[in-house]
């Protein structure tokens, strides 16, 4: 039983990270119906930014907690500015083009960013400092769930709550929902749709960067390629939950996290990806709109 709980909590941690990244995919898809393939790279850039800032601050002799906070903030801001710029450069000019054009542009952007970081940094794995504090009172339970994992899950819950509030109750959130449902009608209501799209990219990139910092600090190393794998997994999570649906992204992330965790624990870690993608194939066959997705809404 204890083993089961351990796997369950491990899956929850993994799932949290997937959910944080999947949010960006699903929100962007909801608004402009584009799979933003460069989204995984944003997560990777978030992790690298945190690493660089943390290294500098360590040299300057800052304490651990302030390093974590400042590095995370820098990562979020820097990743958000990347997300904003990518949309303006690679997607906005193609807004009226066929959807395939924007998709190809996204793949190009992804390859470009990977190679840019490869050249600017290195192809080797770089050690990432463990920035997350250890809680003494969790010591007895450390074999089930570490402090870092608790922090990951709690941070994710906090981000989700903030995002739900934003979407449900703010003016911007209402404009986002309206734009997702009928872009021209949103324009006719006076919504500056370009600004809404920019905000969506900024928010999605910021949450991906949070995920990047958390997981890098937890696992302890990063390289230029981590965005690709995480991106594909998070994309899977978004599709599982129903792409375009925010609660779906969270649920999809968790389901994927648990699938992987239990597959690793009860079968073999070699089969982790096999189970994850088998699940994806099954969902696509039997419920293509995803767990919480709606069957294609028709636009009147």
């Amino acid at each position: 039983m204890e083993y089961f709980i351990e796997l369950f909590l491990g899956g929850l941690t993994r799932g949290s990270i997937y959910a944080l990244i999947a949010l960006g995919y699903t929100m962007v898809y909801g608004i402009i119906e584009l799979i933003n393939f460069a989204h995984g790279e944003i997560y990777m850039i978030g992790a690298f930014t945190a690493l660089i800032v943390a290294s500098v601050l360590t040299l300057l002799g800052f304490n651990e907690l302030s390093i974590l906070v400042i590095a995370s903030l820098c990562a979020v801001i820097w990743a958000a500015s990347y997300g904003f710029t990518i949309e303006k450069l690679a997607y906005k000019p193609l807004r009226k083009a066929p959807r395939l054009s924007a998709l190809i542009s996204a793949i190009g952007m992804s390859i470009f960013l990977q190679n840019y970081v490869l050249l600017a940094q290195t192809s080797d794995f770089l050690p990432f400092p463990a920035l997350m504090p250890e809680f003494g009172f969790l010591e007895p339970y450390a074999h089930i769930m570490s402090s870092a994992e608790v922090i990951i899950v709690l941070t994710t819950a906090l981000v989700m709550a903030a995002l739900t509030f934003l979407i449900k109750f703010t003016r911007l959130g209402k404009a986002m929902r309206a734009t997702a449902q009928d872009r021209d009608m949103a324009l006719l209501s006076g919504v500056n749709v370009n600004r809404v799209i920019s905000f969506t990219f900024i928010i999605g990139s910021a949450t991906a960067a949070v995920g990047g910092v958390l997981i890098a600090s937890h696992i302890g190393m990063i390289n230029f390629y981590i965005g690709f794998i995480a991106g594909i997994k998070a994309f899977t999570a978004a599709v599982l939950g129903g792409i375009g649906s925010v609660p779906g992204a969270v649920l999809g992330g968790m389901v994927l996290g648990w699938t992987e965790s239990f597959a690793t624990g009860y079968v073999s870690s070699d089969y982790e990806d096999v189970f994850a993608f088998t699940l994806l194939v099954l969902i696509l066959i039997f419920r293509p709109e995803g767990i919480l997705g709606r069957s294609t809404t028709q636009k009147v």
């Binding site: 003016r171 209402k174 404009a175 929902r177 309206a178 449902q181 009928d182 021209d184 009608m185 949103a186 324009l187 006719l188 209501s189 006076g190 919504v191 500056n192 749709v193 809404t297 009147v300």
Partner: protein, 235 residues
């Protein structure tokens, strides 16, 4: 108030509007009639900036608006009730009305307008927490008009408000349109296939064929015009 001068609008290479001129004065109800595909909806979309004209000029209260973004045009006081109503299906009735007032900041006045709307259409008050997509066609049309009114427009563009509605509901909608025009002095630019009904409430009318304005006259003379009778009134 609104002036279109030699407006040419294209969808890709297809020319939908071929140099049209229209003038709307403050306080009027103007109707634009014509067959399917004549360019009526395109005319409204050009005014609202969704499909901006490639050539020609559009002035509103003396200001050129043909190069402005749609949200800025709404800000100047032009609201549109598009064809097919275009209710946000997953937003509640109340949220749909909120979207109409998106650019306004005068909270107490918005509240007043909301009360006015709920008074005009009690059914909307009853269903305010229901998703817009669950309303019937007639209710959706009421909601669409109300949403546009929430912007307190000076000029209201209406695209086929009678489409797909039962005759009784259509009559009610047209009564409301007349009421809005009379009470709030909101200028109305109405696009309709139901020419008979539209010409009865309008002051003046334009007839459109293949992207061109072919006739412009007072509503009364259009109603008695032999060619119009034959082509659009089914008499």
């Amino acid at each position: 108030m609104l002036k279109l001068i030699d407006v040419n609008t294209y969808y890709g290479n297809i020319q939908a509007l071929k140099g049209i001129d229209i003038e709307v004065d403050e306080g009027e109800i103007i109707c634009l009639i014509g067959a399917n595909g004549a360019g009526k909806t395109t005319t409204l979309m050009s005014i609202s900036g969704i499909v901006p004209p490639r050539q020609g000029e559009i002035f509103f209260m003396g200001r050129p608006i043909h190069e402005m973004d749609p949200d800025a045009i709404v800000g100047l006081g032009i609201s549109q009730v598009p064809e097919g109503r275009r209710i946000f299906p997953l937003l509640t009735v109340a949220e749909n009305l909120d979207m109409g007032a998106f650019l306004r900041n005068d909270k107490s006045e918005i509240k007043k307008d909301l009360a006015y709307i709920y008074d005009l259409f009690p059914i909307l008050a009853e269903r305010r927490h229901q998703a817009g997509g669950t309303l019937s066609g007639g209710e959706q049309q009421m909601l669409a008009i109300s949403r546009a009114l929430m912007a307190r427009p000076r000029l209201l563009l209406l695209d086929e408000p009678s489409l797909g509605l039962a005759p009784m509901v259509v009559r009610r909608i047209f009564q409301i349109i007349e009421k809005i025009n009379a009470e709030n002095r909101t200028t109305i630019f109405l696009v309709e296939q139901n020419a008979n009904l539209a010409l009865k409430i309008a002051h003046r009318g334009y007839v459109m064929e293949n992207g061109r304005i072919t006739l412009a006259d007072s509503a009364a003379s259009l109603l008695s015009n032999e060619a119009v009778k034959k082509a659009y009134l089914g008499i």
